[in-house]
Symmetry: C2
């Protein structure tokens, strides 16, 4: 079922979204198909907890027209030359004002394989300490620390995919230890 990319065309280049219209040829029958999709630099998300509480952020999300979405701290991999781990450390300080001594990559996966190449690096960040205050470019973010004892109810409330994935991975991890 293999394929190769035989042509690539950028049909729209914007600030976040770059739309490609690429041509692929399938190995089995030589058939060609044109596929449109959105290029994305990728994202990093952090499950940051101190053994008592997990740290989330609430912010307005204009694309989905929601006044407030409760999410894991996260950020786009859009800083030149910065690794996912480095982006994670920077974003954690900017969004929740913490640094973490221990970082574990729990999973990498794709956000929506049918239409974008956005890939997500999901880290567990523990050993939290208050970070030096970093200037955050977005003052509309509010931090919410939720007790781990309320994790099941929290998962019920969540409507953001990466936050669902991360909190369910955390639940599995805590169950394995418990």
């Amino acid at each position: 079922m293999g394929f190769e990319r035989i042509a690539s065309e950028v049909v729209y280049e914007g600030k976040i979204a770059t739309v490609h219209r690429d041509t692929f040829r399938y190995d089995d029958d030589g058939e060609e198909a044109v596929r449109e999709f959105v290029r994305h630099p990728g994202s990093v998300a952090m499950i940051a907890h101190d053994g008592e509480r997990v740290y989330l952020v609430r912010q307005p999300r204009e694309p989905v027209n929601e006044q407030e979405v409760l999410e894991l701290p996260a950020g786009k991999l859009d800083a030149e030359g910065e690794s996912p781990l480095e982006t994670g450390k920077r974003e954690l300080a900017e969004e929740i004002g913490k640094s973490a001594a221990d970082w574990e990559l729990l999973k990498t996966y794709y956000a929506s394989v049918g239409f974008t190449d956005e890939r997500i690096w999901m880290y567990l960040a523990t050993g939290l300490e208050d970070a030096e205050a970093e200037a955050d470019e977005n003052e509309r973010i509010e931090v919410e620390a939720v007790p781990l004892a309320d994790l099941d109810a929290l998962i019920e409330r969540v409507v953001d995919a990466k936050t669902l994935v991360g909190l369910m991975l955390l639940r599995t991890r805590l169950q394995a230890k418990g």
Copy 2:
């Protein structure tokens, strides 16, 4: 922390991706911001199992340049006038050749709140029976039935967000019953 949309502009209209550049005004300080995002019709995904095995599909995914991605059966909500449940029933027959007697909406959530309004309806589909053979437009899909006993290992393998979410919801459901 509220906002209102005060202007909307379509800057690219393609086959899958429609890129918007909308202007929002924030209630608290009256500040205005322009946000670019991708409109998507939404998707439905099905956790279809018969008590012994869960039914997945394998297919090439050109956007992420993966020769084969293992996924829940799913589809876009792009048929005029069709509800998410109706789309789910149609896609389940097309992709795995099954109908389901029992449908339960487990969750609706957003795929990637920072850049697209794609929303996903996640259904549990049980009471499976072989469906009348429906013509599927995509012959590159292969069905894989995985024993529920192997669910933990399956979750480890998965790299697609909706499939991760669905299978972790299934695991929680099965643990609660077990």
